[in-house]
């Protein structure tokens, strides 16, 4: 069983953290991951920086740009992560846009992920149908889980289709927005969270976008299995040392 699948079976709400690899400094990647695990984070999304991150708000854009300026590349990230499984055991997911993976070679990319011990991928701009027709067999061959997104606008039929193709969790985007733009959840989000929970999908849902603190984490996980924090963590990293990561996580978990 894949580490993501085992983690999802644990009887707790999961906290997942996203960060842009290569930010704030090129070689912070491994240390950030180790600090996150030590602080009790359940899962990590390692952001592969891209020049044109369409679905991201200003915070992640800026960290992505900085990471590229620091010299981050796909190969450097793989090299940094080479021995990560000697020290880290929680699920690791690479999240990035499709073009850098396409240029690396999708099969080579997946093979590298397997060798390192990456458990899954999130590729916001790889459409479900293209994945299914062209890349699913490669992902399966290397034991990688592909995570799809749904939004409040996603139709019931499409959610069911996405659920049928998923074998880990569904990334539930909290509202119609890019990353980092929401402040708190209102009735609209709560009813969306409830509506999805009531669909009794075969895959658990993890909420992302707009979660920044203990309160929003609690709200998001009232109906869902877990929540992902990205922009708020990156903002924190811009002002604190890596050994202060634990304080950020403790504040979320309270």
């Amino acid at each position: 069983m894949n580490r993501i699948q085992s983690k999802l079976q644990e009887d707790k709400k999961l906290l997942s953290i996203y960060f842009s690899a290569g930010y704030p400094n090129l070689n912070d990647t491994v240390s950030i991951i180790q600090n996150l695990e030590k602080s009790g984070v359940d899962m990590i999304e390692i952001g592969l920086p891209f020049s044109d991150p369409l679905a991201d708000g200003p915070t992640i854009q800026a960290s992505s740009t900085q990471a590229l300026e620091n010299g981050m590349t796909t190969q450097i990230l793989f090299d940094q992560l080479k021995d990560i499984r000697n020290s880290v055991s929680i699920p690791l997911i690479i999240m990035g846009y499709f073009n850098p993976m396409l240029q690396y070679g999708v099969e080579d990319f997946c093979k590298q992920c397997q060798e390192i011990g990456i458990d899954g991928l999130i590729i916001p701009d790889l459409p479900v149908d293209v994945f299914n027709e062209q890349y699913k067999t490669i992902f399966d061959k290397y034991g990688l889980i592909n995570v799809f997104l749904i939004t409040p606008q996603t139709s019931v039929e499409r959610i069911q289709f996405i659920d049928s193709l998923s074998n880990g969790f569904i990334y539930m985007v909290s509202s119609a927005s890019v990353t980092g733009s929401s402040s708190g959840f209102g009735d609209e989000q709560t009813s969306y969270f409830k509506r999805i929970a009531n669909m009794k999908l075969k895959n658990p849902q993890i909420v992302g976008f707009g979660i920044s603190d203990h309160k929003t984490f609690k709200q998001a996980t009232q109906y869902a299995k877990g929540a992902i924090i990205g922009s708020a963590f990156i903002k924190y990293l811009s002002k604190h040392n890596l050994d202060a990561i634990e304080d950020f996580i403790l504040n979320i978990k309270n």
Partner: protein
């Protein structure tokens, strides 16, 4: 071989819709409706009427006598520069604003580089009384002040794109992010044959009026509706798509796409995507684009703001790869010289984008009886400062 789009939204291997799920409902709504809406008699009637009475179509197909004498071939100019707002861009914005109305949208967003598409969008929004927000790179805002003023005068809000390289590709990113944030009431008027399916096909169909007119106009003048060559410049590629459209499957008509070589194809400052680009994904489309080995999209350069896009529409990527169209690269200097030449031989000051198409005669020789149609995609008013600086006028 088929050169038009297939039912999955691809030209050969290029195209598709590589978009985040957040955009799926918007793009899917458009995909399901665009052909249906365009086929409605009331839509066609209103579109044709506006093109005639508001844009001033048909645009003339003009036999350029002195230019023809100089290059010893028969050169016709398709006068898109005479359209309202000064370029072919308005053909598409008229079509898309009518589309937006039919889909019940109340808010319009657009991206712009030099500001021509922004002005064409602001114009139709004023015409229809719709809210209009145009994203423009911060750097472009500074260097295209007259067009920024025109957009504001037309009632549009111009929002600076502050991310990345702060030019056209970043303005496009910002417009896409706006659409993600406003999925219900907003229509995104993309200005070229780029972006996720169905945009490349929809924009090509709205621009197809150009080649539709060339067919009957040439028939009147030459007794044949088929030129030997059609020439058009390509940034994203909308004027070329329009000029080529009705000739795509007729391989007796040769197609020439002209790209901006900037300071030279190998100078590091160029926008010749067919030479410098590789297959990849940009703005939701699989196509040829300029990028690093690592798949990061790079910033192109051309003296012409309308040609410095790091990608090319998927139709053109297919025309290039299949060999259906010949691609020629023209430097800044060659284009500027050709722009001055047209001004002095024919009394027409072309947009610098168009000047690239006019500069092919040193690289490409034609026979005396060849009929060469050049799409004169825009007028040079907007470029006057560039011409002044370049020629020290």
């Amino acid at each position: 071989m088929n050169y038009n789009i297939n039912n999955k939204g691809y030209y050969g291997e290029f195209g598709g819709a590589y978009i985040p799920e957040m955009l799926y409902p918007n793009v899917e709504e458009l995909r399901q409706n665009y052909l249906k809406v365009m086929a409605e008699p009331s839509f066609k009637k209103e579109f044709d009427q506006l093109l005639k009475d508001y844009v001033g179509r048909p645009s003339p197909l003009y036999f350029a006598k002195r230019l023809s004498e100089k290059y010893k071939t028969k050169i016709y100019l398709k006068r898109e520069d005479l359209n309202h707002t000064g370029a072919h861009k308005v053909n598409n914005t008229i079509g898309q604003i009518l589309m937006a109305q039919r889909l019940g949208k109340t808010r319009i967003i657009a991206e712009t580089g030099a500001g021509q598409h922004g002005v064409a969008t602001a114009t139709v929004c004023a015409l229809m009384g719709m809210e209009c927000i145009v994203y423009m790179g911060e750097i472009d805002i500074a260097r295209q002040a007259p067009n920024v003023a025109r957009m504001k005068m037309l009632g549009a809000e111009v929002r600076p794109a502050l991310s990345g390289s702060r030019t056209l590709k970043d303005a496009t990113n910002e417009a896409i992010r706006d659409w993600i944030n406003n999925p219900v009431d907003t229509h995104y008027i993309i200005g070229s044959v780029v972006g996720p399916h169905p945009y490349p096909d929809m924009v090509a169909r709205f621009q197809a009026v150009v080649s539709e007119e060339i067919q009957w106009q040439l028939k009147e003048k030459e007794g044949t509706d088929k030129p030997n060559y059609i020439v058009a410049c390509v940034g994203g590629g909308s004027n070329a798509a329009g000029a080529f459209y009705h000739y795509l499957e007729d391989t007796n008509v040769k197609l020439i796409a002209v790209e901006a070589a900037g300071k030279g194809v190998n100078s590091g400052e160029s926008a010749a995507t067919s030479v410098l680009g590789r297959e990849g994904i940009i703005h939701g489309s699989k196509t040829l684009l300029m990028q690093t080995n690592d798949g990061q999209i790079t910033e192109p350069y051309s003296i012409s703001a309308g040609l410095d896009y790091p990608g090319v529409g998927p139709m053109h990527a297919h025309l290039y790869k299949s060999g259906r169209a010949e691609f020629i690269s023209i430097t800044d200097d060659e284009a500027m010289t050709a722009g001055l030449e047209l001004s002095q031989l024919e009394g027409i000051i072309p947009a610098i984008e168009t000047s690239h198409s006019l500069a092919i005669f040193d690289q490409k020789k034609f026979k005396e009886n060849d009929i060469v149609v050049i799409n004169l995609s825009g007028r040079g008013d907007k470029d006057l400062q560039n011409y002044i600086d370049y020629f020290k006028l």
